[in-house]
């Protein structure tokens, strides 16, 4: 069972899940009956101990579980009111609207920085150089990477540092102008400086996209997010505005986790 608090009915939901469950091999549940909103132009953090299902839930939001045949998703996930798991919905289309950035930076190593960012656009057949140039610059600006790479757009994607590669991955996701951006522990493999840069980036990005970020670092959730959801053993225990959840948690499990009882 999950606890959902209608924290601010005035703000709109970009996404919302209703009783979303992810089940492996018809036996074990990754997450169970999650009903949670994603507010428009806000950053929503998902926290919880290892193995509690936050990444599983995140990956359900852009239908990544479609790729594993043993995984079944039930329930609804609504983007602007429409269920992305409805029968006629094409996951390929869904993923253009809901982008994802992964834990390990994954630029395409054989492609140049420019081609990496333009990859999503090239997929739909946009070839005109002027359009691509503009979109690439816009995306790289949005990812706070433009100044560092504008002189070497043709060098290979793998030639950047770890933090830069992650920002490149973000730029690549931004280039197709998604409505929601899902981030799966985007800074856990980066050094502190890059982490800070990306956290600031996230705070700016939310004006353009709604962000859901999974993090195992509670301080990070405090720093960047507006709303936080606490997951435990596959259920959503508590969901509230970040300040409220951290300072005045209403559930006991939340209190235990926040005080470092288990991690």
């Amino acid at each position: 069972m999950s606890t959902l608090e209608q924290v601010n009915t005035a703000e709109s939901f970009r996404m919302e899940t209703k009783d979303l469950s992810v089940c492996y091999n018809k036996s074990s549940f990754g997450v169970r009956d999650i009903s949670m909103p994603v507010y428009n132009n806000q950053v929503t953090a998902l926290i919880g101990p290892s193995g509690c299902g936050k990444t599983t839930y995140l990956r359900a939001l852009n239908r990544m579980h479609d790729l594993s045949p043993e995984t079944a998703v039930t329930g609804q996930a609504l983007l602007d009111g429409e269920d992305i798991y409805a029968a006629k919905v094409d996951p390929v289309v869904v993923r253009r609207k809901i982008g994802m950035v992964f834990q390990k930076p994954t630029p395409f190593p054989t492609k140049s920085i420019y081609d990496n960012v333009a990859a999503g656009l090239a997929l739909v057949g946009i070839r005109k150089k002027s359009i691509l140039d503009e979109a690439v610059e816009k995306a790289l600006q949005g990812a706070a990477l433009w100044d560092e790479v504008k002189d070497r757009l043709k060098s290979p994607g793998g030639s950047l540092s770890g933090g830069q590669q992650q920002r490149l991955s973000i730029a690549r996701a931004l280039a197709i102008e998604p409505e929601v951006l899902l981030m799966d522990e985007p800074t856990s493999s980066l050094d502190p400086n890059s982490t800070i840069k990306i956290e600031e980036l996230i705070k700016e990005l939310k004006n353009k996209v709604s962000i859901v970020i999974v993090t195992h670092n509670m301080q990070q959730a405090l720093r960047v997010s507006d709303y936080t959801g606490f997951f435990f053993v596959g259920s959503l225990i508590e969901f509230a505005k970040t300040d409220a959840l951290f300072n005045k948690p209403s559930q006991d499990k939340t209190k235990e986790y926040l005080s470092g009882f288990f991690s």
Binding site: L67, V92, V94, M100, T106, K111, A119, P156
Partner: protein, 326 residues
């Protein structure tokens, strides 16, 4: 493919180079002594072949032997060109024919086929690699060559005879044993090697790369084109080059199907020859010393060509792999 770095680095930290126990020293000596066998073997190949062939090289010179096209044991004149051309044409031709089907099989089994079908196909393809060349040659002689003759060569030849007389000299006498038959069979024989190496390369592409492509809203083939194939490129090309090296040395099936003529020019449907087919064909009957040393000389050149191709393959693989250092 195992990452060699970790293992070697770990072992180097194990024990110092000085082995204090006498048992260690004895063991190491035995191992080193036996291992020198393989080094000697490789060196012996180069040196012994060269020494045995030297009378021919003294008589004709290295370059002349390479480029001369007369091979007349009776008159004592020998030139390797016909066989070099035959080898290059069949090998590169077979490679060109084999690449796309082999890649298709590798892609099919790693991305499209259900697990059981992929396993079956992989077994079959590996089985193809295991069939002895002489067995394929037998099938070629009694089944494939007559089929090609009746279904392809004769009809074309007869058509040309009626309508395009000028083509006939180029076609030659269609017996079924010719460079085309040999190239087709060779293509079939090298497919498994390309498949195996391409398959390994594709399997090594990290899951995250594929997921990144999916997350951008790619269709299945687009994921291959965007993330998988470029990443696997170096392995695939290495596979192609190594298959080329095998094609160059393929002996029995070719010898049984290529018709064995020593004279250039090779016609399309008429008999031809390659370096290995020459060796098999004439070695046992070579009575004249010059004939014998010339055959060995052809073998020596085959050895050189194989080494060169293998070196190119290693260099290309290293360069492409370095490019994708992540």
């Amino acid at each position: 493919m195992i990452d060699t770095l970790d293992h070697s680095q770990l072992i180097k930290r194990l024990a110092p180079a000085r082995y204090r126990r006498p048992g260690d020293r004895v063991f190491k000596t035995i191992i080193v002594a036996l291992s020198s066998g393989i080094i000697l073997l490789a060196l012996a190949m180069a040196v012994v072949l060269w020494i045995e062939a030297s009378p021919t090289f003294s008589k004709f010179g290295y370059l002349n032997f390479l480029t001369s096209s007369t091979w007349d044991p009776v008159a004592g004149i020998h030139g390797a060109l016909p066989f070099i051309i035959g080898t290059l044409v069949t090998s590169f031709g077979a490679l060109a024919l084999a690449v796309l089907p082999a890649l298709a099989v590798a892609i099919f089994t790693s991305e499209y086929a259900p697990r059981w079908l992929a396993t079956v196909i992989n077994y079959l393809v590996d089985l193809l690699a295991a069939i002895p060349s002489v067995v394929i040659g037998i099938w070629g002689i009694f089944n494939f060559a007559p089929f090609m003759r009746d279904a392809v060569y004769m009809p074309i030849y007869e058509w040309a005879y009626e309508h395009a007389q000028w083509m006939v000299p180029m076609l030659g006498n269609p017996s079924g044993y010719n460079i085309i038959t040999a190239t087709l069979i060779l293509a079939l024989m090298i497919v498994p090697y390309t498949v195996a190496l391409s398959r390994d390369a594709i399997r090594l592409v990290p899951k995250e790369q594929r997921e990144a492509a999916w997350a951008l809203g790619s269709t299945r083939w687009e994921v291959m084109k965007l993330a998988v194939l470029p990443y696997a490129r170096s392995g695939i090309i290495a596979g192609i080059l190594l298959s080329l090296a095998r094609a160059l040395g393929e002996t029995m099936a070719i010898a049984m199907l290529i018709g064995n003529s020593n004279r250039l020019p090779f016609t399309l449907f008429g008999p031809a020859a390659t370096m290995p087919s020459l060796i098999i064909n004439e070695f046992r009957e070579a009575v004249e010393p010059l004939h014998y040393t010339s055959i060995i000389a052809v073998g020596f050149y085959l050895f050189l060509i194989t080494i060169v191709i293998n070196m190119i393959a290693t260099l290309v693989q290293r360069k492409l792999a370095g490019q994708r250092k992540l």
